[in-house]
Symmetry: C2
DNA sequence: ACCTGAACACCGTTCAAGT
DNA sequence: ACCTGAACACCGTTCAAGT
């Protein structure tokens, strides 16, 4: 039976979970589909086009059914948590998302909802847009690190040991004090902390106008 | 004359400026140095090791001589601006930095200074560490986008047009209102806005304790 | 319409052998 | 100590030709 675009996309997402972004090649995908190298290029013009479609697929429903009666900071926090969860739904999902640019429906729905929430809170179109950019950099940056840390050998122990070994008590007292708080073991709390920081800043902006 | 490690590194940074991260290959670097493919591997164990050294080189002096008498929000803002400038100093500098993990001296000095400033403001070691993570995700995320936007054809006009074409006035009223505020033309203001947002959040945290 | 087969123009990395 | 020459094991992409 012939392939469909959706079958190629679904296989690509499963292959991503299996092997990660680094090993996700058009040749391995073709092999997983049982076709020759060139075959996938009939369904997607390029690897980049496939990656865009994968990112878009991960974002399905990210902005759907946000409760309109809750206060705006809660709605925005919910949207940020949903974006994080969408990116976490696939291995290296955050890196896939970060590498795409094209305005697809689900990505647009996220931006539309986020900007709408902040304009509703009283921010200008400019401030709302730039604040959403800030929030999105945070969610994506955090989630990239989170997914990278989750793949570190032995729960990140060797990496922390390497960092500890590079520290000099005289030069790096603050980093030494911070060693207990390396994010890897507490991604949920770590994410919530930065999100709350941004919301505190936004509340100050919204109240000040 | 034989190559030194520093010569390889300097050539790699210049080649990065010339061709960008996508075209920066070990083969082109060897060719630019007038040696065979394998030669650079005597000086750097892998491409990744070279990229780490490049990131570290860009961060030279990033935390030096911060005025200790200025208020902590100004010191932290200054440090964030310096990190951005360091990443902007080379084409795709932010992407190079984002791809590295090893604790080298200049990167450590940045983290040490940033955490120190926030602990001095009264934050716990945990809060200071996580807040610096948030700030750093922001600076890096912003600068990656900024450098990508700067390389877009025709000042990003076609990309904005493509976005505009994907918008539906009924579905995307807020994105339409936001179209005038696409970051590309105003990176300085855009960066300052998000930075101020984070500082407002941090002031609230610092005052609240 | 959809895929094969084969090629093109590359990659990072390794390593025996040279100097 | 430092580099050459050559190979190994891959890449993304294209496209005439098949069905």
């Amino acid at each position: 039976m012939r392939l469909t675009r959706d079958q190629v996309l679904a296989r690509a997402l499963d292959l991503l979970d299996e092997v990660g972004i680094e090993q996700l090649t058009m040749r391995r995908l073709a092999s997983a589909l049982g076709v020759q190298n060139g075959a996938t290029y009939w369904h997607f013009a390029s690897k980049q086009a496939l990656l865009e479609a994968m990112a878009e697929a991960m974002l399905a429903g990210v902005a759907d059914g946000l409760d309109p009666v809750r206060p705006w900071p809660e709605r925005l926090a919910e949207l940020a948590r949903r974006l994080r969860r969408a990116l976490l739904s696939r291995r290296d999902g955050a890196r896939i998302f970060a590498g795409t640019f094209f305005p697809e429906p689900n990505a647009l729905a996220y931006g539309e909802a986020a900007i709408g929430i902040l304009r509703g809170a009283g921010l200008s179109a400019r401030d709302a847009t730039w604040a959403v950019d800030t929030l999105t950099y945070y969610v994506v940056g955090h989630t990239i690190e989170e997914q990278a840390a989750a793949r570190l050998p032995d729960g990140g122990g060797p990496a922390v040991a390497r960092l500890a070994g590079a520290l000099d008590p005289g030069r790096h007292p603050n980093l030494l004090a911070a060693l207990d708080h390396i994010p890897a073991p507490h991604p949920e709390e770590h994410f919530a902390y930065g999100l709350e920081l941004l919301l505190a800043g936004l509340r100050a902006k919204a109240d000040g106008k």
